[in-house]
Amino acid sequence: MNAEKANISFKPGIYLHIPFCEHKCGYCDFYSITNRQQQPEFVRALLIETEKTLQVFSIDQTFDTIYFGGGTPSLLEIEQLETILEFLRQHFNLAQDCEITLEMNPGATEREKLPLFKELGINRLSIGIQSFNDQELRFLERIHSTRQAIEAFEAARKAGFDNIGLDLIYALPNQTLTTWKHSLQKAVALNPEHISAYNLSYEPNTPFFRRLQKRQIMPAAEENELEFFNFTHQFLTENGYLHYEVSNFTRDEAFVSRHNYKYWLHVPYLGFGPSAHSYWNGQRWGNKPSLSHYLQQLNNGQLPQDFSETLDEQTKEFEHIFLRLRTYEGLDLAAFENTFGRSFLQSYRKIVNELIDSGLAQLTGKRFCLTQQGMALCDEILQRFV
């Protein structure tokens, strides 16, 4: 990746968690609810939380990303989105080229809102398409069809969006490389700026996880997962996409998800809304994943935090390593030494050598990064740096 050209920055970012969905998909473990009665109350509370946070920390940095995640943020009324954005613009220094991303579902109602999203200054869309196979979409409990997905994408282009990402999921039970390839082909045909391709995971407390435990679902075998992972890499690379993080591809460095990349750069960010997480001044905290708790706390003048921790140097170092190594550009050796006052290669000589010797990692110029083979074993490798 060409660092000069790449859409990455070390400025802080803002994340907003919008916890509403029309339907809660069985695999998803992000916090959301389907009862949308309290949506207006939530928006008011979100502003209160933001304001309170600003009071606690005197913040004057310039932020250059805003990310509406969820849940399904595209379910917000235009007025609600406008209120939030207006509030943020008033209370934060936002960079001129601030990346403002909205996650959306390819449903019909959202499609109509696209020109208005654009008008509000939203300049990046992340569309949860997940698959271009209707049978797979039903298995995933998605409420849209392949046709609707394509229509949504085309409508977004028509509305003037020139930075669109698609989310896809692979390694579904019984999925074959053929159907997966079909989805990838359809995705590439739309020529999106960004593709996130996630291996289906079974997270505790999701219906899929419980079905797995009851053996109602047979997960893909490790070998198959590997095959999907490598096939995705190969297919998208051949089609001009750059694999820049475990699950993320971009058509061009300029379209890296600037916001998400902050997580892997270990850059500070503030998160608002239930279940949102923040990293600021060497501290991490997270809000409780509960809308009622969220509203109640803020009504009582309290922040809705679930936990907070101050990272010691050792933890920071480990985080830095495991976050950086999830990216294909890897860890910048000079930056590491600057930050932690010791050489990465010397401090981790043994494991580093083992990884390089066995082709799981490599040194490229001033960086240490995992190879494609190593990336498939990322979690196993990262443990070694604890």
Binding site: Y198, S201, R284
Partner: protein, 601 residues
Amino acid sequence: MDQKYIRNFCIIAHIDHGKSTLADRMLELTHTISQRELKNQVLDDMDLERERGITIKSHPIRMYYRAKDGHEYILNLIDTPGHVDFTYEVSRSLAAAEGALLLVDAAQGVEAQTISNLYLAIENNLTIIPVINKVDLPSAQVDVVKHQLIELIGCSEDEILLTSAKTGLGVEEVLEAVIDTIPPPKGQPDASLQALIFDSVFDNYRGAISYIRIFNGSLRKGDPIRFFNTGREYQADEIGILKLRREPVDVLNAGEVGYLISGAKNVKDIRVGDTVTHAKKPADAPLPGYKDIKPMVFSGIYPVDSDDYEDLRDALDKLSLNDSALIYEPETSKALGFGFRCGFLGLLHMEIVQERLEREYDLTIINTVPNVVYRVHLKNGEVVEIHTPTDLPNPAEIDHIEEPYISAQIITPSEYIGNIMKLSQEKRAVFKSTSYLDPTRADLTFLFPLSEVIFDFYDRLKSVSRGYASFDYELEGYRPGNLVKLDILINGEPVDALSTIVHQDKAYEMGQRLCRHLKQLIPRQLFEVAIQAAIGSKVIARQTVKPLRKNVTAKCYGGDITRKRKLLEKQKEGKKRMKQVGRVEIPQEAFLAVLSMNKED
């Protein structure tokens, strides 16, 4: 008291045949102990003993009993340890007595251990009183057992006493028989002091305490004393008799049993079997039968967490204060780091030490596969004893190797003879003889290489005989064997802790099985793991643990980095109990792979 009113005796019995219960009844009957004081099995001190229902330490006790002849007698019951590992201790306890009760369970009949201890008693010229216990059990076969006893010791039927130690039935008759049948001690009161040390214990406040039997002469408080075989001299700071607790006295006379506190700090300074004499007026010779006991089985003990090394050393120091048979020396293993090579009397002794380290000292340890002591004859004529396979000299320098053999006695219902023969053959045993205790119970003797017995023999014997066969052994001596060192290499590197010495004929099969088994025990990792078995430089077996291929979380949980980090830390924690050898992480179970191999099949 005149020696003719003293009786020193012990009880020979198999585990669970009721020895401790009978002892408890005697203590009650002689008012040595009130019912209120009586916990079950008073004489067994350690929890572990009580749990396993076995006695490890003998604890002599003095009772006063007014017999039917109107005289009051001193009865010294010398308790004996009840396991094959402690044969020498048993023999010394027996040597302190003039007679023994041969106690047999009416339902179980005579067992191997009973017989081997009986032989020890006969060797020590003890008068034997046969007793059948648990005669009130519905499953009691009193006639069958009577017949076995008659065959075994050639007694007449009416000499056999019948008891139920549980109900107290027949216990008084036993005490009367002790007085009538067992001869009183016949020591010379005026001769120079000769006292046998038949056991020793460690007391936190008093140091090492010896249990002694005065054979000749007398011992007075304050006497200067000498231990014959070690040559060490001390002073008799305190002497006394043993009831439930120690009771100091001024003098112990010929024929008496008591204790001696002499200023010796460590039980290792007091050798069981040694003779105590007067330092100024020493006896001409020690009592016969002293042996330097040597450990038979060795195993490495390593802390799982290398930070616990010092704690492990402290724990071994403390354990050995009370266990003169336990020896240990520091050892370094390439695979396991710093630890100790420990010597044990046998497998049970080893297990007891391991369990006490974990239970009483809260240590998590890895113990390596136990091995016997080999005698290696070098081409230059030198003979070296090796305690660990890694110490085996270069094959080019070796003329031949000798290994210890045991003489084993197996008593079994006759229908299992075939199975036992087969098992014995597999274990390289040499068959010696068969005799029959009664038409259905056979008494088989074999010579076994000890090394074959320490690998899962006992469990297999129990399984091929449905639990009915009993087994006992004593060391026979060394015999040459066609032995080789079998090394295990992980990714080309020999793992010292996994080396074993095996018979040449079995090496190939053993190597194959060990590799297969290790493959099950070593989890897949980042790299391919090659497991090889080799003799010298020749690889005889190989298995491969395929590397992990994919393990990556697709999402980083939004901005919830904490969750991701904790997951990684938790996964790492799960691997902490593994030992890293080269770049391979090996779980603890793998170091005992040889022992668990049979469970795999």
